[in-house]
Homo-oligomer: 727 residues x 2
Amino acid sequence: MACANKGKATLNLEPLFNPQSIAIIGCSQDPKRLSGLPLHYMQRHKYGGKIYPVNPKYQEIAGLKCYPSISAVPQPVDVALMLIPAAAIAGVLAECIAAGTKAAIIISSGFAELGPQGRAAQEQIAALALEANMPVLGPNCQGVINLVKGIPLSFTSALDAPSLRTGGLALVSQSGAVGSFTLAAAHEAGIGFSYWATTGNEASLNAETVAQYLLRQDDVSGVLLYLEEAKDPQGLAAAGQLAREVGKPLIGLKVGRYGAGKRAAMSHTGSLAGSDEEYTAAFKKAGIVRAAHIEEMFDLGLVLSDAIKPRGKRVAIVTITGGGGILAADRCEEVGLEVPLLDAETQAQLKKIVPPFGAVANPVDVTAELIASPGLLKETLKIIIASPSVDSIIIFLGMQERIGTSLAEDIAAMAKVAKAAGKPILVSWMAPPQGAVEVLRAARVPLIFDVVRTINALSHLLVKPEKEAERWPSTDPWGGKGPFAKKELRSLLLKLSGATDGEKERLTLTEAAGKEFFARLGLPVPRGQVARTAAEALKIAAKIGYPLVAKVDSPDILHKSDAGAVRLNLQSAPDVERAFGEIMANSRSYAPDARVNGVLLEEMVAGDPLQTIVGLKWSEKFGSLIMFGTGGIFVELLKDFSLHLAPVTQAQALGMVEELTTAKLFTGFRGSAPRDLQALAQTIVTISHVGAALGQDLLELDINPLFVLPEGEGVVVGDALIVLRGK
Amino acid sequence: MACANKGKATLNLEPLFNPQSIAIIGCSQDPKRLSGLPLHYMQRHKYGGKIYPVNPKYQEIAGLKCYPSISAVPQPVDVALMLIPAAAIAGVLAECIAAGTKAAIIISSGFAELGPQGRAAQEQIAALALEANMPVLGPNCQGVINLVKGIPLSFTSALDAPSLRTGGLALVSQSGAVGSFTLAAAHEAGIGFSYWATTGNEASLNAETVAQYLLRQDDVSGVLLYLEEAKDPQGLAAAGQLAREVGKPLIGLKVGRYGAGKRAAMSHTGSLAGSDEEYTAAFKKAGIVRAAHIEEMFDLGLVLSDAIKPRGKRVAIVTITGGGGILAADRCEEVGLEVPLLDAETQAQLKKIVPPFGAVANPVDVTAELIASPGLLKETLKIIIASPSVDSIIIFLGMQERIGTSLAEDIAAMAKVAKAAGKPILVSWMAPPQGAVEVLRAARVPLIFDVVRTINALSHLLVKPEKEAERWPSTDPWGGKGPFAKKELRSLLLKLSGATDGEKERLTLTEAAGKEFFARLGLPVPRGQVARTAAEALKIAAKIGYPLVAKVDSPDILHKSDAGAVRLNLQSAPDVERAFGEIMANSRSYAPDARVNGVLLEEMVAGDPLQTIVGLKWSEKFGSLIMFGTGGIFVELLKDFSLHLAPVTQAQALGMVEELTTAKLFTGFRGSAPRDLQALAQTIVTISHVGAALGQDLLELDINPLFVLPEGEGVVVGDALIVLRGK
């Protein structure tokens, strides 16, 4: 498993984010050039610490003494901001280390993004940083901004803004440009940040480590993390865990979901779940909230930082327009929130203050009367906050240039009351006056201009991760904490495969051997036996009883139906005899070189079985993953499956069933019996522990189908595919 | 069917939208009051026509002579803007008519929104307008703005903007407040409108009629229509038809989708499709593009007005940041667009100008080098427009305060070249400089700030309705153009029901009678016959042959399985005898009072049948609707069905199958045979004509299941439910 950040836990990022002194290496005299901009911005935003421009060409820049080299600077600086060409970086970085510089930011590009040669130069940086135990950001990044203290270590033109807007969110972005655009767009929406960091090529310091540092800062209410690739999965897990420990949200936007080309695989699990699903599973397990795009990242950041989690799904909508109320109610129901009729008592109280052409049932429409009656919105909110039929409140407004600020002040006051009552208030305000934006942002009342986005964010708030939530188990699958020991599982599988270790790269178990393995783990398998001859088949049939199922038993024929080597519902001895002959003949003609052990005869599973699929997938980044889906057509046609990091608990396994689109099939749908969910979940747990124990030694594992019987009747392994890594 | 707008086709709306003279009735001297604002805005925006304030209290307002009444105004005015209390409206409106006023806008509230009393007052307005054949807008609306000529007939504070931003889109909103907020939000996004109209309570003039007027105006590039309820379905159809005739998009946002309480119904069709699905079907048929929310309404309006339809799904992404390119590519693939590798020739040409640390494969990343190299973006676009592997182009940018305007000019120039080459260019620009916004809006290059919204809009562009698209057939289902005559179908059904006309409200056909009906229409039904005695059953069985299906035949037992009155796969005479006895006994105990004709014996459908469901639904607004879905668990669990206005053509019926999530099941999925799509579509067409012919005389009609056999083997009606309106 990749682990790029060894030893970084002890790194002190303070000089990077809160430097008392800065050296600008390669500083230009021209404030319009990229290498002149950082100094320009530091002066513009009145950085209070020491600035040392470094450039052998100049004596002075913008009123500051300029030094020929970092060695010439009279004191060790906290951070060196490096703007010199790529070829000079390694030498100057070594010089910085020698001069006692505590941290470095390499803005310069020309490294791994150029290919192999650049990669070597980048590795040199990494080695220097590691050796000196120095935080080094970049190369090819846009630097860092501490907005709280006004310390701009960047050339981003987002710094052209006359003042730095501050707020609780911090942003860490692997992409400099996306980070810049996001900062500028946030500024326009009146959203301020506390810290802003771009990590670029991540030669040494990565986004996961920076996110952890930022989560620990008092000024930070939540962290937005823009990822193209998680270079440090352990760091990601640690960041997620830390976020929950400190009770701050960590919102992840992972791009590059598509076109990643899924690895060809025999198993369904292998072919269904791509690398994007791995990230979804990892984020879920780590308690990192996944945003689908930049706007959602903002919205979730605001709402999860500043709003409390509602107790339930019942939303009251307060508006000044009937149409807006309907619009909001539509969206609430669309995302699974409820817009209940308010209780009679609340309605009666509202009727006393809301004009007769308004509405009090929910949505509550106080009408444009609000303009003439100061206090109407505040009184309305007071009544609704006290209502027992409400868990959260959406306020939908538009414009109101004249009274916007005072409306916002009323909302801010009532948001406090609502918070005390355990109910969040979210504001959707189309084309709001600037004054209202300032008031609401300052009061940390979540404000989103677009009503659909507001309600989407509210729906996420319902699943806000809790401080006490479960932690991500070690991503090291052979941590040895599960019920299974890797060594024993492996030798059992080797024995059942009939092979010796190291013989082949892929050791495939026959169905009978796979079922034997699962039976040893305590999973129910059908009674069955392999017959080598027709006569043996008849004897076995008589022993098991009818009806029977017959399938070829061969490690080399995995798609048994395609081979014409499966017969269902055999009712009599002649049926068995004929089936044996046909299966052997078909198998030989389908795969003349296949090793065929004979025909597996099994009792047919009775009791209206529901087909499901349970499997394992190995991820280079996140270790073993457990997959569960409704089988047959559903998993194929609808991609209806759930994927989690292994191992999972019984409760998590039940949650995996609930996540499915077809979840209703398990609780008794249209007259069919409710399924044995406990036995199903227990099976998922067991398989997940197999995955956690064996890790990448398991190349494929699928139970497809796993039959799930009616409640109390358990499950049955219908088919088994296991491929073990041999050497 | 509702038809509120009788005779309005001949109404002249010119005096409403382009008045040469305006009377402001109830004009206040206080420019801050609602009744003072319209005059204030007319003067502020320099209305060039005549203004006549009318108010008996004043001699003069804001430098204009004020008249005591409309009769005192020296000439007939084009439009009277009425701001007086509701109680006075009817009298003054009559006075206006007498004075020769050509149109009226009633801003005043206090009508139907107050209940029965207000409704009567509103009907009085409607009667006056109808009698005078005068366009009357409102009451309870926010009026009209002609932004092209600067004529504000409204009090909306969106008019506080220093200048009216103009553009090609027109907005018609039933909600005044939502209309205002939308206008203000559009202004902030740099989007101008040509006309803006709010229709309020629609006593007389409705949004559908206004939309038609606006579509005909040369200044209008497309119409946005915000609806809470379509009061004039025929007008909606006509607007959709007109939109396609004039080649302008009509974008509909219909709110109030949820909580409308679906009517309890016996049939699946009746219970599955609610009123919102009716609107979706009606919009589709009319060629009205349905927007899900306000922002999407803008985006679609811009893109469908100003961009040409791409020839295919292949998108080139041009960006200045790798991260942005990935973000855009993700979303493209998510919505079904393709981001192909560019052809070698195009890549080779791009390599000559794009820096080596950029990318030329697609996404094309020209990097921040763009800032230093004027013309780089333009050259890049030129090469990509000429590429044979590209159908459309997304440009993803952010900020660029310094060079934004010139970049925008380059883009505008290349957008023209691209248009000539049949390829649309859409621009996504985060936090764009104002100059760039102005340039792109003026050049009518679609610009959306958010990349996800841009790509969503592009995906809609692929299905942009064409001028030549099919028209909405008459919503009058008894137009008599289908193959069936209503009278004959009705008397056939009456006869088969064994009832006489007018006997009962609901006449339910037995399954056998329903199948007889479908057989007469030429649909294949299983061979079968009703047996009244066990002896008769045996005779029928011998005649049909085994295996057989047996079900009770009764007009009073619709849920036959629940009654234990279905037996499948009968193999022999004893099977038949036993089944007959059990079915008769179970039916008697399930429903002692039911009329039981006997047991229907049918051949069992062979050939791996796929279960589907075809049904009809009656809509008060839109007439008869045809529904098709994949049967069994799919329609129940996934709500996987398609709904269209009846009748449909063979091609439309095939389209209904393609719309399903489970469409793949019909074309041969996982080794199962492809289905007989032509026979299936023919059946859907036939049933749709039954719906169109019988209209609301059919209370319920379901074929559930309709078995669809492999290609060339046709379909079979598995069960039939028909309920006819008796009296």
